[in-house]
Every structure is written in structure tokens, then in C-alpha cells.
Amino acid sequence: MTAASQGPAERVPAQRTRRDSVWVRLLRSRASVTGLVLVLVFILLALLAPVFSALTGNSPLSYNSDLLGPDTAPAGPFGGISTQHWFGVEPRTGRDLFAIVSYGAQVSLLIGLAATLVSIVVGVIVGLVAGFYGGFADRLLSRLTDVIFGFPFLIFAIALSATVPASVPRTLLLILVIGFFGWPSIARVVRSETLSLKERGFVRAAAAQGTGSARIIIREIFPNILATIIVFTTVSIPGKIGAEAALSFLGVGVNPPTPSWGRSISDAISWVQVDPMYLIFPGMALFLVTLGFNMFGDGLRDALDPAEARSESAAPIEPVSTGGQP
């Protein structure tokens, strides 16, 4: 049904035609193109944050109390939107909201992508080892996977961030904590794919020739689960971005004055009636980047594996989430 079930002899040509059709299929779906565009917009926003900052002369850290009314809400309609301040300014400080949102994109994407990398690496290794070696290793790792999967991540992350010494950089801590709790779903999928690949002819043939376990895993099994890993990576990212935002929202994420969408949204609570735009801009940024990754991930999954897309798209281990774990 996919390259995942093809022998080594057919693999190279099969992948080429498949890759071509993957792009065609992907670009034919309006939802996945929309998702891709959204993702690219936010990546550009993050990369160009310093450029925008230089162009407009607005830094996410500089206060502009002259732009605030007597109630310290932004002067002017819609949160003080002007040609100088595209998204208006922050209440109480007068900091430029566009600069906060664009530098916030850097923080969100950095933590989201790095945490995803951590969880994919751990998940793939655990899944490969459990699936390939079976027996005691499998039982132990599968049980561990179950425990971590069900663990109340948000509660634990809050507790941890309160007790870890301030000398540990917050960004690193968030990447490790979010990444560590994210691996069980990919581990389960890799394990089950490895289990079925292990029984296939080309793997058994390699084993019969006396190929070592490590070599079989790397040369025979890994290439065949790569498509799954790519899809999982894509759909895992929004959950990780959401987790950072959620922790920052709860006051245990990145420390001020580093901009963070989650913290801005949290600060916006007390201003929601007076200055709703302060909620709307960071909130929409978080929503749109999450939506973008989810739509693109869905499309990628369908394109890479249309036959399986139906059932897989909503497996219980589906990592698609806001990370705004309620």
C-alpha cells in the first residue's frame, strides 16, 4: 500500500515516483496549501522580526508611555493601531505589539520545533528498540510509554518549573520538559510499524545474511518508517507550540521581558473589556500558526498515504492538539 511495504529492490524508483505524486497531491489540496502558506508566513515573521524592528524603529522592549491614555490603555481606536504601530501598543507599557508578536513568533517556533525534535528522537529510538527487540525491552518500554502518555503533563510541568533553580535557562527547560512528555505517541506508532516490518521478507533476508541488528534497524527499517516520522513531526509541532504558550499563559513559561504569545494573552485578561485588540493579535497568531501546522500535517498525511489516511487521521494517539491542554 505504501513504500513502507516495498522490498529494497523496488525502493529507489518507487520512492521517486511517489515523492513526485506526494507534492502533486499535497498542492492539489486547498487545505494543505493554506496550511503551508500560514506556516511559511509565521516562519518569515519570526526570521524577519529584527528587520521589521529596524524598519519601524520599534523594539519589543522599549516603553512608549506617550501612546497611552490616562487609564494606561492605548490612546486611539483599536488598541492604538497606526502606521507606526501596525498592531497597536501594549496597555500599561506602550510597547509595540507587532514587535512583541513577531519576536514572540521566534520564541514559539524555537521552543516548538526544538521540543518536537527532542520528542521525535526519543520516540523513534524507543519505538524502534521496543518493536525490533521485543521481549522484556518491549514490555518495559511499552509500560513506560503508557505511563508517560497518561501523565498529567501540564500539572507536572507547572510543578517542575516552580522548583527548578533559576540558573537553568527557561528556554532550555521548556524545550526539555515539553519534548520529554511528547514522545509516547510517536513511540507507539514506530513500535507497531517496526513490529510488522520485522516480519517482512527483506528484513528477514537481511537477518538471514547475518546483518547485525543495528544495521538492519538503520538500513532496512528506518527508511521505511521515514514517511510516518515526517507526518508525525509536522502534526506534533502545533501541540508543542501550544504547550509553551499554555505554560507562559499560566506564568511558568519564558521569563519576562522575553516576548511570549501565551504571556501576552494572560496579561490581556485584565484588559479584555477595555482593549480587546491586546488579546486578539497574540491570540490570533497562536491560533493561526497552530491551524496552519494542523492543516498542513493533515494534508501531508493524506498525500503520503491516502489509503491509510482515513483510519490513521484520527487514531487515539493523534498528536494534533493545541497543547492548550484544558
Partner: protein
């Protein structure tokens, strides 16, 4: 016999997991900071008080003895300090807050009704709404209805709970002024006001989960409906509602039961975000308060409590599996 064996197997497994989680929590939170008494003492912490807390906690003891006391406290209760001044903490003792001068267990219990009200109400909404939406989408596969439902689902999944909550407060609370923006009225005091204050939190909390359940239901349903035995059932001349109801839905029960148990379990340990947005003082809020006061006994206690609930929820899901799925007993 095999089912009894399965139940015992699972019970033992859950106990071991709980023990490991408790030990891990103890190791991470009590052995890592330079002085756990400093954290337990709260702020402000005078030197006298610090010395007192140190004496009560027994931090001068060897780590394995501290761990043993900690675990024993959960099972049979424990005393902090000794003699007449000792503070007794009944089993299950999840710790003692020297700042609030109360056991963590009773602190959690006092907040639990709010979290339970919030979680269970939302759970009813998302289960009914999500499964119904998923079924409709599956039955109308490829139509505009399907597209709308699935579009709404991916939007619901992508919208953070707190953003939805704040927008809900802005719209229904401030602009339309039809719903309260927060606060909690106990069910026993006034059931109507209880529900009235919780409507918005319920809906907000339910949306993300409903979206996930809708996707799961649709996926499972499409998978099932393409199976041979469904074709056989149709060929036998069974009516479509019977085919869907008897053969289709039955296959949904197992995966949904597990997911439902885990989701509810996860929230009962503290629906932190929703509680914060709507100013509901549940278990999650207790944790956030403890974090801002660095009240480590409460932090560890709530974490352990939340983990225990999840393990128990998993256990219940496994056990209900063995009742719902006759194949499971045979496996062991």
C-alpha cells in the same frame, strides 16, 4: 478464571506504577532543591520558622528514610515532628502545607467539587457533541456537511482553550451581558445557579475535546463501514440504522472508552487553564497558588494526586475493556 487473573494483573500493575510515580515525584521535588524546608516554609520565612519546618520535615534524615516516610504517609498517614507539638496527617497523606496549616489531602478535597463539576459537565458535552458530529460527518462523507464538520473540528482543535474562554467572556459576559464571567456556586447551595455559572466554562472546555472525538469517531466509523462484515450485514437485508447502530457503533465503544477515561482523569487532577480563565478555585488553581508561594508540599501533593487519578482512570478503562471486549479475557 482468566478474567480474574487479568484484573489482578492490572491492579498490581497500577500499584507498581503509582509507587514509581510517587518515588519519582519525591526524588525530583525533594532531593533536587538545596533545601526543601526553605520551599515548604513559604514566604516570608523567618529563620526560626525555617528551623521549625526543618525539624518537622526531618530533612536531616537519610534520603531513603525520607522516601519511606513519604510513601508510608500516603498509605497509613504520618506525623510531622514529634511529641506534643507533632502535626498529624491522616492517610492518604500527600503532604502538609505549613503556610496554610492544613494537610494537602484536605486542601485538595476542599477544591475538588469545583474541578469535578467543571470536568464532568464538559465531558458530557464533548462526548455527545463530538460523537454525534463525527457520526454525521462519516455518514455524509464527502458532502458539504462533512466538510463543514471537519473544518469546524480542525478549527476547534487549533484554538487554544484560554483564547476561546476569553473570547467567550468578551462576547457573552461583557458585550451581550447574558452569562456570568466567572465564580462558582456550589451545587448543594443552588443547582440552577451552579449550572448557570458553569455553562460557559463547560462549553469552552468541551470544544477542543469534542473536535478530537469527532475526528476519531469519523475515522473509526469510515474504517468499520468499509469492512466485509458490514457488507454482509447489508447484503443480509438489515436496515441501515441497524447496520450502523449494531455493527458500526459497537466498534467505537472500545477506543472511545479508553480516551474518555484518560481525558476525564487528566482533567480531574486540575483543569488548570479553564479554572484560571474563569476564576474557578479548583485543584488546578490550588496548584497555581502553591507555585506562586513556592509551597512545595502542596505542589508535590497535587502532582501526585493528579498522577494517581490518571493511573486509576487507566485502570478503570482497562477493566471496562475486559467487560466490553470478550477477547481480552482469553489473552491472559
Amino acid at each position: 478464571m482468566s478474567r480474574a487473573k487479568f484484573v489482578i494483573y492490572r491492579l498490581l500493575g497500577a500499584l507498581i506504577v503509582l509507587l514509581i510515580v510517587a518515588a519519582a515525584c519525591f526524588a525530583i521535588f525533594y532531593l533536587m532543591p538545596s533545601n526543601p524546608a526553605q520551599y515548604s516554609c513559604g514566604k516570608p520565612c523567618s529563620p526560626d520558622r525555617l528551623a521549625e519546618v526543618e525539624r518537622y520535615l526531618g530533612v536531616d534524615q537519610a534520603w531513603w528514610k525520607q522516601l519511606f516516610d513519604f510513601l508510608r504517609g500516603i498509605v497509613v498517614g504520618r506525623d510531622f515532628g514529634a511529641g506534643a507539638a507533632a502535626i498529624h496527617c491522616d492517610a492518604p497523606c500527600f503532604g502538609y502545607s505549613f503556610r496554610l496549616r492544613d494537610s494537602v489531602t484536605s486542601l485538595i478535597l476542599s477544591r475538588l467539587p469545583i474541578t469535578v463539576s467543571l470536568t464532568l459537565g464538559a465531558a458530557v458535552l464533548w462526548a455527545i457533541g463530538g460523537i454525534a458530529a463525527g457520526l454525521i460527518a462519516a455518514l455524509k462523507r464527502g458532502t458539504a456537511t462533512d466538510n463543514v464538520v471537519m473544518g469546524a473540528a480542525i478549527t476547534g482543535i487549533s484554538a487554544p482553550t484560554y483564547l476561546l474562554g476569553l473570547l467567550g467572556i468578551l462576547l457573552f459576559g461583557f458585550t451581550l451581558n447574558v452569562l456570568p464571567i466567572g465564580g462558582y456556586v456550589p451545587l448543594t447551595e443552588n443547582p440552577a445557579m451552579w449550572a448557570f455559572h458553569l455553562i460557559l466554562p463547560w462549553i469552552v472546555l468541551a470544544i477542543a475535546n469534542a473536535a478530537i472525538y469527532a475526528r476519531l469517531t469519523r475515522g473509526q466509523m469510515l474504517e468499520v463501514m468499509s469492512q466485509d462484515y458490514i457488507r454482509t450485514a447489508r447484503a443480509k437485508g438489515l436496515s441501515e440504522p441497524v447496520v450502523i447502530g449494531k455493527h458500526g457503533l459497537r466498534n467505537l465503544v472500545l477506543p472511545l472508552t479508553t480516551l474518555f477515561a484518560i481525558d476525564i482523569g487528566g482533567l480531574l487532577g486540575g483543569a488548570v487553564i479553564t479554572e484560571k480563565v474563569f476564576g474557578l478555585g479548583g485543584v488546578g488553581t490550588l496548584l497555581l497558588e502553591a507555585v506562586s508561594n513556592l509551597d512545595i508540599q502542596v505542589i508535590v501533593g497535587v502532582t501526585l494526586f493528579a498522577a494517581a487519578i490518571v493511573v486509576i482512570a487507566n485502570l478503570l478503562a482497562d477493566l471496562s475493556y475486559s467487560i466490553l471486549d470478550p477477547r481480552i479475557g482469553a489473552r491472559h
